[in-house]
Amino acid sequence: MSLELRQIIKKEGPETHIYSTSLTLKTGVFNVLLGPTLAGKTTLMRLMAGLEQPTSGEIWFNGNNVTGMAVQKRNVAMVYQQFINYPNLDVFQNIASPLKLQKITKADITQRVNEVASLLGLNTMLKRMTQELSGGQQQRVALARALVKQADLILLDEPLANLDYKLREELREELPKLFSGSNTTVIYATTEPTEALLLGGYTATLHEGSITQYGPTHEVYRQPDNIQSAIEFSDPPLNIINIRKQADTLVAQDSSWTSDNGLAQIKDGDYALAFRPHHLQIKADSTSSLGLDFKGQVELAEINGSETLLHMQVDGKRWVSQLHGVHKFEEGEQISLTVDTRNCFVFDSSGQPVR
């Protein structure tokens, strides 16, 4: 009982949208597709749904080859980023529409629609037209329509992206509960790493039309298989510095260190050292070093309530540090920073992790 992509390739004219992708998705958990805009999340979902056909490769579902099968014949449901409902039908009819096309008795339809509607808090507005509802309610109707069908595969394409902050949090909390316990394969596309972490389950990171990693969300977050996964799964963006290890020294463009502190065992050569912004801390005095120290020049300090996002130039690269509390910095100020090497990812020149 699963969805399996076998060497899927999707080309549109001269452009390749999806490079050869093989993936077997877990059933009964939340599968998150994480990647920036234009990474191919929507294309991949449309291929899974059967709205588009792959240029080559096969899609298998529950042990059957469903490549080329008409979308009407597949038992799938999809929710889009825009709030898509039938404008000429009221809420009840909207939710009931996938059931009406199956051979289900009227009483059963009414019962199932009412169940799903109360689950999503729509039971008081079943007789209203969808355009009269707020954005959040409209998206709830779309979710209800996907839920009521009891489809084997449910595709959610950035369903919360057009909602305001409060509603997004509220629905994000509900979503995993709505689908838990069922035997459906749920796929959720998002651009936000935080959202993937909050939803839990499994995550596939997507980069320029290729899946870079698939696994339990926290594993992907903590042990990226390659530098692309690490970059995608970091918000604020990952800090990266190119270093060269020679004997017992590490050399970067502007600075160098002795390579004790945990980096001693790697072979000589060129590496990319990467770590997340909350690991990069201000070095208060010479005794508070965590391992690797840097000198930086402040570009901008963004304060969002209880945190300060400090943007700076280090070694010719733009870095970000996520600091607790409110700190004031002047533009162009010189600062000392430090990071613990245990919190660093080390990638070799081909982007593979070294440890």
């Binding site: 979308v71 009407q72 449901a77 999809m78 889009y80 898509i84 039938y86 000429n88 529409s97 096309l101």
Partner: protein
């Protein structure tokens, strides 16, 4: 200096309505009064002109003929334009933009260009002086117009709606009839209105392609003189009656037309 806010619109409406008032005014006068004196309202109020139109078959048949071919044309134009507009709004194909523009160029051609070939052609196939002949001839102008208007309205509907319907299990036709057409009723109303109006006021082709059996009211009205001399009162009454269907239709689609303007079509 504070000029009243209502002054300019009031003047505008007065000037706009003046000819229409004059037409209605004349329709209640006798021809003698119209030709003899200048009066702001009928001195000898008469309904004789209207009575003549409603009792004389040469007059009222003109209305029946016009309405027949106009309705035929509107139904044909809109039902043919619906699938065409859907194709233009949803699919990309080779030369789609050129084809769309070419359709519109038909709308730009002067009807006089087509009058003679149409006359010859319709006569040859035995359609001369039939309602369907005029209805088909007007399609040349009305189908491109309807496609253009409907395409605008259809492109305003996200294609994800189509896909959601397919995912829910709708077949194409079921979706098109049950979901899509009800979604764009405003557009269909606007398209039908413009087809109706164009066909209703078009004179040249309608007159060329008919003689007796399908003679439109506009052609009847060009007959200004009869055995009893000029009948200006009668013509005024006929003109007044010609305005009514348009006014009636525009009343129903007035909100939709505003929507059409907002979409940049119409």
């Amino acid at each position: 200096m504070k000029s009243p806010r209502w002054l300019v619109p009031t003047l505008y409406i007065i000037f706009l309505m003046l000819p229409i008032y004059w037409l209605i005014n004349m329709s209640f006068k006798t021809t003698n009064e119209i030709l003899g004196t200048f009066t702001l309202w009928p001195q000898e109020f008469t309904l004789e002109n209207y009575r003549k139109i409603f009792t004389d078959p040469t007059w009222y048949n003109g209305y029946i003929n016009s309405i027949l071919y106009v309705v035929m044309n509107t139904v044909i134009s809109v039902s043919v334009a619906l699938p065409a507009a859907y194709a233009f709004s949803r699919y990309k194909f080779m030369g789609d933009k050129h084809l769309f523009f070419w359709l519109l160029t038909n709308r730009m051609a002067p009807p006089a260009v087509f009058a003679l070939p149409f006359f010859q052609f319709y006569s040859a196939v035995g359609l001369f002086d039939t309602h369907i002949a005029v209805a088909l001839a007007h399609c040349l102008f009305n189908i491109p117009l309807a496609v253009w208007i409907l395409e605008g309205f259809m492109s305003g509907v996200p294609k994800e709606l189509d896909e959601t319907a397919y995912i829910d299990g709708y077949s194409f036709w079921r979706f098109f009839v049950r979901i899509f057409i009800p979604t764009i009723t405003a557009g269909i109303g606007v398209a039908a209105f413009f087809c109706f109006m164009f066909s209703w006021v078009e004179l040249l082709l309608a007159k060329t392609l008919t003689s007796v059996a399908a003679k439109p009211i506009a052609a009847t009205m060009t007959r200004t003189a009869s055995t009893s001399g000029y009948e200006l009162g009668l013509l005024a009454a006929a003109g007044t009656l010609t305005i009514i269907p348009g006014a009636f239709v525009i009343y129903f689609v007035r909100n939709y037309i505003a929507k059409g303007f907002a979409l940049g079509r119409v």
